[in-house]
């Protein structure tokens, strides 16, 4: 896996989520990108229970990514993360006395996967309890694992179809103590999705839809 960048693309003025996604698809196809299957990323939220001190409990996020269907990623809010077998879900059920599933908080992004040269682009519709809330774009440059090396190159590529919506270097890389020259891993991608899902969860009204 290479360096990834996950960002949220606002819904175009006067357009629906699906229409905006279609525009992005068209732009990619005009570039010469080729459709290569579908993808999904999901995230469930768990509350840690039995907190004696009464402080606000820490949240645990359990995520899945179709790129790694045999794995399950668990991330503490602002804390460490781990990558485990898919059996981890079963373990979470057994641990329900300690971690309670926050029903209705499940967020997922589903969409089409495009390949362009050594780039993978995933345009997803972010949905919460099956209502569309926004659009996620993930760009992966598969040939390089060092964010500091290929960021400018990735930015140039993203500008070609995202225009002014091109994001800055993700904070997951800039905040690393080792700097921008350490190889990426799959948790970097997942924490970017987690951040995006967090933003989507907070935003109650779909931008551009006007009324509730």
């Amino acid at each position: 896996m290479g360096v990834t960048c996950v960002c949220q693309v606002p819904v175009s003025e006067g357009k629906s989520v699906q229409q905006t996604v279609d525009i992005l698809h068209k732009k990619l196809e005009q570039l010469g990108a080729v459709k290569q299957g579908n993808f999904w990323v999901d995230c469930e939220t768990y509350h840690a229970t039995g907190n004696a001190t009464g402080q606000p409990s820490k949240l645990l996020y359990v995520m899945h990514n179709s790129e790694t269907p045999l794995s399950c990623m668990a991330l503490f809010e602002g804390g460490p993360g781990l990558s485990a077998d898919a059996n981890f879900d079963v373990l979470m059920v057994k641990l329900k006395s300690h971690f309670q599933n926050a029903k209705g908080h499940k967020v997922e992004s589903r969409g089409v996967r495009y390949r362009y040269c050594d780039f993978l682009v995933k345009i997803g519709t972010v949905a919460m309890s099956s209502s569309a809330r926004g659009i996620s774009v993930e760009v992966e440059y598969c040939a390089c694992v060092i964010p500091g090396d290929c960021w400018n190159l990735m930015k140039e590529f993203m500008q070609s179809f995202l225009g002014s919506n091109t994001p800055e270097l993700p904070t997951v890389f800039t905040s690393k103590a080792e700097g921008l020259s350490v190889p990426v891993d799959c948790m970097d991608t997942m924490s970017q999705y987690l951040e995006l899902f967090g933003r989507v969860r907070k935003q109650q009204v779909l931008p551009g839809s006007g009324v509730r």
Partner: protein
Amino acid sequence: MADVMNVGVNLEAFSLAINAIQALRSSVTRVFDSLKDGMKNKETLEGREKVFITEFQDNLQSVNRDLNELERLSTLVGRPSESHPLHNSGLLSLDPVQDKTPLYSQLLQAYKWSNKLQYHAGLASSLLNQQSLKRSANQMGTSAKRRPKVQPSTLVLPIQYVDDVISRIGRMFPDMSIELFRPNGTSAVLLVTLGKVLKAIVVMRSLFIDRTIVRGFHENIYSEDGKLDIWSKSNYQAFQKVTDHATTALLHYQLPQMPDVVVRSFMTWLRSYIKLFQNPCQRCGKFLQEGLPPTWRDFRTLEAFHDTCRQ
């Protein structure tokens, strides 16, 4: 007549000699004719053989006689003067009908032309030799014939010497690590790791680079059985391109007499890929062209170009 004296040819003996040659030819023909016809019909087998043998002997004797005569005459003919710059072809100038057969003047022109050609070829060859790092240029020149003679001697370099040269090159570049393996006998295979950008497998024959394959830093270099995988190409188009260019570089850097210089030049060139994803193209100023970074590096300046921008 004075001309004839000059040339030093006895014309009378000459015409006699021509006659003698004709006689010799016809007597030789007779020998083969009688051999071809075989034995003629006679009452007894003995009689047939006898007649055939006598006839054969007579024929051979006449060949012998004619040959002797020709030899005798040939001493009388004398030798043409050798002072003429074009040797015997100079005799063509004696032809009185110049206008109809301008052979001699044409010959002189061809001679001058070939002299000039040789002179220019010599100049060109010495110029080309100054750039003998190019293997392809060498192959077109005269040294293409020389190369196979040079190679066998350098192909049997001691293993220790090869190891030394490689480790010396490895120390020259701190951002480049070179590991040496000998998976198949004496031939070395180098695993070159360039920063966190790429890994190149370089298959050697003695100190000559046989082939090379470039893969991404995070790609597998070992096959499933744990051996160095020297065949599979990279999964990424960028590194497939770099592999193509590296193969071109192997053809470019060539100096059969100093194989260590070639390896060093190649490694210096390969090292310029340390900024494969960081350098924009020197021509169009962009990072990407058809989805690929500038994968070409100029052999002399090591500047980065897209494959499509390098001309």
